[in-house]
Symmetry: C2
């Protein structure tokens, strides 16, 4: 198993790290390739341009920097960005007004998790000037609060599920044999008696597990209930709110039409983005900051120039989803990391409160 020292990876010495930091920082703010003169002019390192040149050549050999052509300045490689976010950048403090803006947003009354997260993605887009992302809580973490059935037509049944995150979901199920009105009443009662508090995702599994406890008439009800529950697409309702993707066009890298099309590809790639940020966050120890994805790291074809900064939000200290921002590879990571982390904290707090006082 790979093990990382948090502060002192051995392969770069102090000066190299300073210069790598300078190059990445400069490139992030100006979007221009960085030359040796620029470095000495903008950062006071106490060495001459020639020295910087030598170090930069070394960094290029090591794979941290890259030249677009001989005689242009250098730009960071993915590896260079990686080193920067992992060891060099110090997460920037948010200003008071930024903090207040975020706090204020979360003062408003919301009482279901989905709208909270939609608002969050909106907020992130606004404040970061990148695309804001927010995944709805994983189905597995939602507990059934209440189930209601409603006959829409003789064979068509509406199933309403209220979860502990305040979300009311509506599904439609088809019965082979029509249900009479008092069938529905008893079925509803049966479902609520037996499935209160069960994870929404595994309603039918929960019921199946208890199946042998039921006898005779209750058995019949259980079978009917299963028939209904199996029909519902409960497992795949996590969705991704994404807002403000068009802000990416402001960035110079998307002047190029080919790059710009990547942004449009986002609309179709939402599923893959979800699974990617999730798996990245779960992959422990591969990087100090594994919830930053640089250039989507070649994992989604056609999104090579896109980066994501994500953070998990939690309910009662258990991760239930991710929020984040998405932008060009050249992003102000140090600032955005602060924003995302801070926002995630608030989402966690509000959701925990929402679940807390359950009756």
């Amino acid at each position: 198993m790979v093990f990382f020292m948090k502060q002192h990876p051995q392969d770069l010495n102090e000066r190299e790290r300073q210069i790598l930091h300078a190059v990445v920082h400069s490139y992030i703010t100006t979007a221009e390739p960085v030359g040796s003169r620029t470095v000495v002019k903008r950062f006071d390192l106490g060495v001459s341009a020639a020295t910087v040149r030598n170090v930069m050549a070394d960094l290029e050999d090591l794979g941290y920097l890259q030249q677009l052509h001989t005689s242009s300045g250098r730009v960071p490689t993915d590896q260079g960005y990686r080193y920067y976010v992992d060891y060099l950048m110090h997460v920037q403090q948010l200003t008071l007004s930024e903090r207040q803006r975020i706090e204020k947003e979360f003062m408003a009354r919301v009482d279901d998790a989905d709208s909270l997260l939609r608002q969050t993605s909106h907020l992130l887009a606004l404040i970061s000037h990148q695309a804001g992302l927010a995944e709805t809580p994983a189905e597995g973490s939602a507990l059934t609060q209440r189930i209601e059935l409603l006959s829409l037509a003789p064979e068509r049944l509406a199933v309403l599920i209220l979860d502990n995150l305040g979300r009311l979901r509506t599904y439609t199920a088809y019965m082979e044999t029509p249900l009479r009105s008092d069938d529905i009443t008893s079925l509803t009662r049966f479902l609520n008696d037996n499935l209160h508090g069960a994870p929404v995702e595994r309603l039918s599994a929960s019921l199946e597990a208890r199946l042998r406890e039921f006898m005779d008439d209750r058995r019949r009800l259980a079978d009917q209930a299963l028939q209904v529950l199996r029909m519902l697409p409960l497992e795949r309702t996590t969705q991704l709110y994404m807002e403000g993707a068009n802000q990416l066009f402001e960035q110079p890298e998307f002047r190029d039409i080919a790059k710009a099309r990547q942004v449009f590809g986002l609309l179709d790639a939402q599923d893959r983005i979800i699974s990617l940020i999730r798996s990245a966050a779960e992959a422990e120890g591969t990087h100090p900051r594994n919830s930053i994805l640089i250039g989507i790291e070649g994992k989604i074809q056609g999104l090579e120039d896109i980066s994501v900064i994500a953070a998990p939000y939690k309910v009662n200290d258990e991760t239930v989803g991710m929020i984040g921002v998405l932008g060009p590879r050249r992003m102000p990571y140090s600032r955005l990391t602060a924003i995302v982390d801070y926002t995630a904290k608030f989402v966690s707090r509000v959701l925990t409160q929402m679940v807390g006082p359950k009756k």
Copy 2:
């Protein structure tokens, strides 16, 4: 009032019309400005290039064509396209396989109008290679079939409305004073007794209109009901499904980054697009084909290069919404018109059937 002859507007003679047709047709297929030589080469008009040149100069004076610069070929102006779609193009027949593909899509069982229209926009995008549009039926045409209330929390009430188009909608309302369980039961019954068949859009208006009929205890219920209904955002739930907008990037006109950004603007402009195609379809007699919008006709700022071909769909011969395709100004109108019209017919049929057998 302006009156149009369907077949023979007077301002162009036969030859001019042939040449206008040739230019528009050629430009639509190739995306290249059309010169006099091209016209004689590709269309057998029996005249020489010089003659064509003279006619084209006339058409330019009349405002139908336009030169991007002296000594380039001509391209149609909006007015030119308008004349083309109104009088020159003959709507193309769909091939058997195209017709079958559409028919097959509508064989699948759907039982609520919203999913039907989502599928429709998907189908249109697929078959037209443009963006597919489908507006959900206007709230005004949906009649209340059933209302259910569900207490989510002491002060939070879920309101479910099932309409005659099979759509089940969920709203949340907040009560000042908590309702007891039998309050809810009687309120539900009251609502259903008095509002069955009322247009969803005007539920509270309908109830208000009948208010003086109610006395004493029923009066109290009516007041409570009104309190709830007024809270629901019933009037503005028409939405636009749009799919496949990224296909527009295949078109050469969107190579240019500035134009390409228009496509992204679509995401924000959905409301304006709805009202635009609706008002266009309603404006009677201004054009023979008033459900074709060319270059959005300068009406939505920032979407000058976008055109829309729309068609209304009907329930029992009454228009309740629009479907269509959206693409660059230079679009194969004759083919797409056929597709859109044909599809609209099917949507109408399925919806009418859905409403038909009401009980």
